[in-house]
Every structure is written in C-alpha cells, then in structure tokens.
C-alpha cells in the first residue's frame, strides 16, 4: 500500500518466443547491441501456436508481473498456420483477463521476425514500460495486483 | 466470554516435517532409486527408531509430499532408506535430488510386521516390483536375528530384468544359509540369458507349493498381484491369519485423518499398513 518508494522493483516478465522468428529476432537484437530492458526472461518454444493459454496463466499464478507471446508475422509461420491459431487464442485470453479485472497491459503479443532486432527491442521496451506502469498503479493502491 | 486464546502453548505441528539430508542415491532399476537419508539434527537421528513395515511422509520443498515405506534395516541407527519409483511429481522430484539435498520427513507412521509372532516359523516373502521395498526392512530384520526363524524363501518377480530392484541384496540373501531366493519375470519380460523363472508371481507361487504347516507368508506388490496371490494362498489352504500383507493405498496425512485410505472401519495409515489376510478379507474387492 503506502510503502515508502523502494528502489525500482525488479519485474518478472516472461516471454514465450517462437524459435523460428522472435527468438532469432531477440538474438539479433543482442548481437546488434541494441539496448532494451533486461527484465524479460525468455522461454523458447517451437511455435507461438504451442502456447497453451494455461502457460500464460501459470506464469501469472506463479507471480509473473507480465507475459509476452511473440511469433511470426501472419503468412510466415514455419508450420503454415500456428501463429493464426495463437492469434485467436490470445485474443480470447486477453479479453477474459480484462473482464476479470486483470490489467491487460501486463499481457502483450507481438509479431517479430528473425530480421526485426530493432522491433524486438521496441516491443520489450513498450512491454516493460506498460508493466511498470501497471505495477506502479497497483502498488500505489490505485490499480490491481498482477494476479 | 471466550477466554483469550492461549498463545504460549507449544504447538505440536502434526503436519510439519523435520529436515533431513540426502546422503546417497542409488539406482536400483530403470525407474527406482533408493534414497539414504539422515536427519539434519543428529539428536533427531539418534531418536529416530522404527519397526519393519512402518512408513514415512517425504517432502520435497516446492514439489509436495508422498508416502514411502521404510526399506532400510531397523537396526541401522545412522540413516533411513526409502526406495522410490518414478511415477509422478513428487517421485520425479526425488529422482532429481543429489547427495546433500534437503528433504522433509514426517513419521514413522503405521503399525509394523508382527515379527514376534513369526518366531520359529518358516517365512515366505512374496513380492512383485517395487513391492519388495516394503518387505526389505523385514527381511533385513529377520536376517539380523536369523537363528530365531525357520527356513526363509524370497519369491520376487518383476516385469523384466531391468525392473528388478535390490539386485545386490538378492544376491547376498541367496548366499545365506537356509535362505532361498526365487526370481521370476513376467512372461514376455525375460531377455536372452535370463537364468531365473518366467511366470507371474502367483502362478510361480502355486508351482512352488509352499507347505502351509508352520509357515507365514508376507506379500506386497501391485494390487493385481496381491489379489491373485491371496487367491492362490486360499487355494493352497493357508490360514488367513498366517498371510500378511502391507497395503500401498493412497495416503496423505499418515495420521488417520484425511480419509483417503479408509477401508471399512480401518485407516490404512493408522491401523495398517500391515494387515493379516483375515483382517481385510471382507474388503478385498474394494482394495484391489
């Protein structure tokens, strides 16, 4: 509640990244020495279509401050259409999170290709800023807790 | 009005385990490991004693708690052993432990084998799979006082050679005077070069046709094996009082409270796990 403002809280943000695009994009960002916040912990998955919404909910239940799902642009899926399934699933999940009063800013989805190192850095920066804002609201008593 | 709650009373925490360290982890078979444990507090270890047949609740922090029979020799004061088959979350976590890892132990719980009543009798230990773990502490106890008992036979079966546990013990026991160890594998499970028998434990037992006179049979194994073993012993004319089994039913609290091991008016964790066939005859359908 009205805790004295400590040093900025270290956020726990989980990113589920498709092996074929976003993971390589993040790698490229690293190789290119692009600066982006370090609060994200990456889990490499074979396809965004692999992301069972249960995984996202498990993260929140275990104390994650935010979750990102990132896959290939539509049309670029290594398995043709995995990302299109993911798009539907995550849309519904996001709607329900909001409906239950979870701050939607804590859950992001992005399309990041292997060549989009810069976009990756931007996606993470926006994500972390969003989660930080949601977290600050929550800690000030104005917002809602992550889960 | 209600008296203020007494805050200074010591709370005997019936669900709180005592910390112990893994001393050794030994692979017994492809999915069974034997865990040697000692309490962190040496006084705790000194004070820990158990009788063959009793069990403990083992906790792995962050994973959960599960029930395991004590498989080590009750005469060994310095440690305790449990053999763990990898089947679920807790057992998987146990298999990942390393020497030095911390676990929690509650117990010992339950009753024990009626060793006194076995004195002077011939003993048959009939086990299947990981069920031998529940008989090991008894066998070790009996071997430690060998002269008090008659002839000993260990009939032990598993699905395949890779599923046999305590190979070293079995060899050792076979070498003792007056001990006969018979190994059998389920049909289809025998590989090339298998020197033992082939057949399900109850069938081999009937082939071996133990004398009923002055003999006590102790059995443990998967439910289906126990069920057929009991039926075979019935056919051979064994007195249900002289047939002893230990039940490996789902248990949780170990205290006779949580309800899941309730069979008839009995709670396996508190009134068992060791029962004579005579005690459970009415519930065999329900148990196995």
């Amino acid at each position: 509640m009205n805790r004295p403002e400590q040093k900025e809280k270290r956020l726990k943000i989980i990113g589920f990244l498709c092996n074929w695009c976003s993971y390589a994009g993040a790698d490229l960002a690293g190789v290119s020495r692009l600066q982006y916040p370090a609060e994200i912990r990456i889990i490499r998955v074979p396809c965004s279509g692999r992301i069972n919404p249960l995984l996202v909910l498990k993260c929140f239940q275990e104390g994650a401050d935010g979750v990102l799902v990132s896959g290939c642009h539509p049309g670029d899926c290594h398995y043709q259409e995995g990302n299109l399934y993911a798009r539907r699933r995550m849309l519904l999940l996001r709607s329900l999170l909001g409906y239950f009063g979870i701050d939607e800013r804590r859950f992001h989805m992005s399309w990041v290709s292997a060549s989009e190192g810069r976009k990756w850095a931007e996606v993470v920066s926006r994500l972390v800023a969003d989660v930080r804002a949601a977290d600050a609201e929550s800690r000030s008593g104005q917002g809602v807790s992550a889960w | 009005m209600a008296s203020a709650p007494a805050m200074d009373k010591p709370r005997p925490d019936i669900y709180t385990p005592r910390p112990a360290r893994v001393e050794e982890l030994k692979a017994e078979s492809r999915d069974v490991r034997t865990l040697r444990l000692a309490f962190e507090d040496p006084r705790e270890q000194q004070g820990f004693s158990f009788a063959p047949g009793q069990f403990v609740e083992l906790s792995v922090p962050g994973e959960g708690e599960a029930t395991f029979c004590l498989a080590s020799c009750p005469r060994e004061q310095g440690y305790l052993e449990c053999s763990v088959k990898r089947v679920g979350q807790v057992t998987e976590a146990i298999h990942m432990l390393e020497p030095g890892s911390r676990v929690g132990v509650r117990g010992p719980y339950g009753n024990s084998f009626p060793v006194k009543a076995m004195k002077g009798r011939n003993l048959w230990f009939v086990a299947g799979g990981i069920g031998l773990a529940a008989l090991r502490s008894l066998i070790l106890e009996v071997l430690g006082r060998r002269e008090e008992f008659g002839a000993l036979t260990v009939l032990y079966g598993a699905r395949s050679e890779a599923d046999l546990v305590y190979r070293q013990d079995l060899e050792d026991w076979q070498g003792r005077p007056g001990v006969n160890v018979v190994l059998t594998l389920d049909p289809g499970g025998e590989g090339e070069g298998w020197g033992g028998r082939v057949g399900f434990v109850p069938a081999v037992l009937e082939e071996l046709a133990p004398e009923t006179r002055d003999t006590t049979v102790v059995t443990c194994g998967p439910p289906v094996m126990i069920r057929y073993t009991l039926a075979a012993l019935d056919r051979m004319g064994f007195d249900p009082q002289q047939v002893i089994t230990t039940l490996e039913m789902k248990m949780k609290c170990g205290l006779g409270l949580c309800g899941r091991c309730n069979v008839g008016p009995l709670y396996v964790c508190k009134d068992g796990p060791v029962f004579t066939y005579a005690q459970i005859k009415g519930f065999v359908e329900q148990i196995f």
Partner: protein, 348 residues
C-alpha cells in the same frame, strides 16, 4: 417447502396446471413403446423423487415409463449423461455393454428441451455421441423455473421456434416451417411430444435485454478495479466443488486439466487466485462450445454468476470470430480454427 408449486413437482410446461398432461402422456406412451419394442436400452428423462423433487430418471423397463415426468420444473439438461460411458454401460447391462462401440452398440433415448438440443449439437460435432445410437425425444417448453418458482434467466430470451422445437439449431425461423408446424425433415429430434406451448410466462417476465450482451457490457462498464472486486467477491466463495464442471454437458474430458497432478496448472486448494484461474480456464475451455444452457450456474451452491463468464466468452467468439456455438453438427470449435482476417489490433 421446496416443491411449492401446485401439483407435485411443478406445473405444466406452459406454466399452467394441466397444460402439459398431453405432452407427458405422449412421452410415457412413446417411452414405453421404445422400451417394449427393444429399440432402446433405456430412456433418460425426468422423474419425481419420493420427496417431491424432479430428478433425472433412467427408465429401463416399459412398465416404469409411467414414472416419466414433464413439467416446468424439469430444468436439468440431460444431454450430459450421454458421455458418461460407465453410466451407459450400466444401463445397457451385461449384454448391452458387450456390444459397445460396435454396430450393435446399445441405443438410448434422451428427452430434450429446445435449449438442451444445442449441447447435443456440440457433442455430435465433437464426435462424442453417435447419432444413430440415439433416439431424441423433444419436449415443447414454455420456460422452466428454479426451486423458488422463478423463470430461469436463460428462458427469458428463448425464441418461440426454439422452445417449441419448430426449428432445430442452425435453422432460422425464416427458412423454417410456419408457426405451429414442425420442421419437415429433422436432423436431430426424432419425436416431439404434444403440441406447441404458449409462452405466456415468458412474455410476462422481465423485458428482453436491449442488446444481446447487455449483462456483459454492464460488467465491462465498471472500472478495472471494480471488475476485479466484483469477481473476486464471487470467487472468494468458490468451494472448488466442481459442480459447474461436472454438470456441464460439454465437460466430458477423461482427464480434466484441473485433475492433473503433473503439472498442476491450478492449485486444488481454494483461494481467490486459484479460483480465478479455475473459472477463467473453465470458461475458456468452453469457448465456442458453451450453448448457455445455464446448468453450471444452477448447480453452483454459492451463487457465482457463471453464465456471466460464459456469455463474455460467447460475445468474443461471436464478435471477433463470427461464431455461435451449437448451431451446426459439422462446425469446428472456433478455438481450434482461425480465419485470415481475424482481428489483431492487440498485437504489436
């Protein structure tokens, strides 16, 4: 008293005493006939308990068909029993069970209201029941009531052609038959009991919602913290008894995610965080499948407004994916499907 509404167990399906006698008589006669001729092993319908409650009734002998009941207290959706293999095997007896999953597999009859029919459509679409092993007995309905005699919420907006089984799921009144006449070629309902029932009680009840998802919109109109407080207050009462899951005709998984131990997706211990996850996942797993039969909400002992969650999912499914559950036995659930033009404004 619990069974307070007039005659034992309730009033006729039109809401007036006696109006349903003909339908009930027809039901008993048809059921007795099906059983006597050996066309079905059992009829799954409604009956009256000695204490005066309407209960599910499983009739196996034709002489017991006289115990079948049809009135405005017959709220249960009986379709869920069709996926309980243990139960069906028990009803079929030793001979019937032997023939399970063969061409001679046992046949069952089930009584359905127009609303229940939609859940049957989903089970058919998901290959969980075999149409040819089923005799579907339709019951024209004027709305069913809860234990206090109040019309159920789901009945308020029930169209005449649906409750009177003039159309089947997926048909519209436009291409359906004229009022008072049943559909000519029926895919789902084999027999309709009695005549269409007037909807006086429905007409007299609360006015229809101005918009189809007005109830959902009201929750969404709250500030975020208000929504959170609203749901958390409800979830704080949840006992995790799983009545909502077990009563659901579409929750038929052999191994439910909530029963899995490794991994544990949601803690089995009640608590607001675990209960919230439970309710979110329960509703999610019914996305594009839930037909709003309302059984979960009826079964909930602690009054959690579960339909309000299901209807939010239905709204997303309809507005974002253009799909409505229970309208076609050939349809694929929207969550195992996609369209190239699916909305993605939320994706960066």
């Amino acid at each position: 008293m619990v069974a307070s509404g007039g005659s034992p167990g309730g009033r006729g399906p039109g809401g007036s005493p006696g109006a349903g006698t003909r339908a009930q008589e027809a039901l008993r006669t048809s059921a007795a006939g099906l059983l006597a001729e050996g066309k079905v092993e059992a009829v799954i319908g409604y009956g009256l308990s000695p204490a005066g409650d309407v209960v599910p009734r499983f009739v196996r002998r034709s002489q017991d068909a006289a115990g079948l009941l049809w009135n405005d207290r017959c709220t249960y959706n009986l379709v869920g029993y069709l996926t309980d293999r243990d139960l069906l095997a028990g009803l079929a007896g030793p001979e019937g069970a032997a023939g399970a999953d063969t061409a001679q597999s046992p046949r069952f009859a089930v009584t359905v209201k127009g609303c229940d029919l939609k859940s049957l459509v989903v089970l058919l679409a998901e290959s969980q029941v075999r149409r040819e092993a089923l005799t579907v007995i339709g019951l024209p309905c004027g709305g069913v009531v809860d234990q206090e005699g109040r019309l159920l919420g789901k009945c308020v907006a029930c169209p005449e052609e649906v409750r009177n089984l003039r159309t089947e799921p997926g048909e519209s009144p436009a291409n359906g038959p004229p009022a008072g006449e049943p559909a000519a070629a029926r895919r789902l309902v084999d027999l309709v009991m009695g005549d269409p029932v007037p909807g006086d009680r429905i007409a007299a009840s609360a006015p229809l919602q101005a918009e189809p998802f007005q109830d959902v919109a009201e929750i969404e109109g709250m500030p975020r913290a208000g929504r959170r407080a609203f749901w958390d207050a409800h979830f704080s009462r949840c006992l995790r008894c799983y009545a909502c899951r077990n009563v659901c005709p579409l929750c038929y998984c052999k191994e439910c995610v909530f029963d899995q131990h490794n991994p544990r997706w949601v803690s089995p211990a009640p608590g607001i965080p675990s209960n919230r996850a439970f309710h979110l996942i329960r509703a999610y797993h019914l996305a594009g499948r839930c037909v709003d039969c309302g059984e979960c909400e009826r079964a909930c002992p602690v009054g959690i407004p579960l339909r309000l969650i299901n209807r939010k999912v239905a709204q997303v499914v309809k507005e974002s994916f253009g799909f409505e559950a229970g309208t076609s036995p050939e349809a694929r659930a929207p969550i195992v499907d996609f369209a190239s033009g699916d909305p993605e404004e939320f994706i960066e």
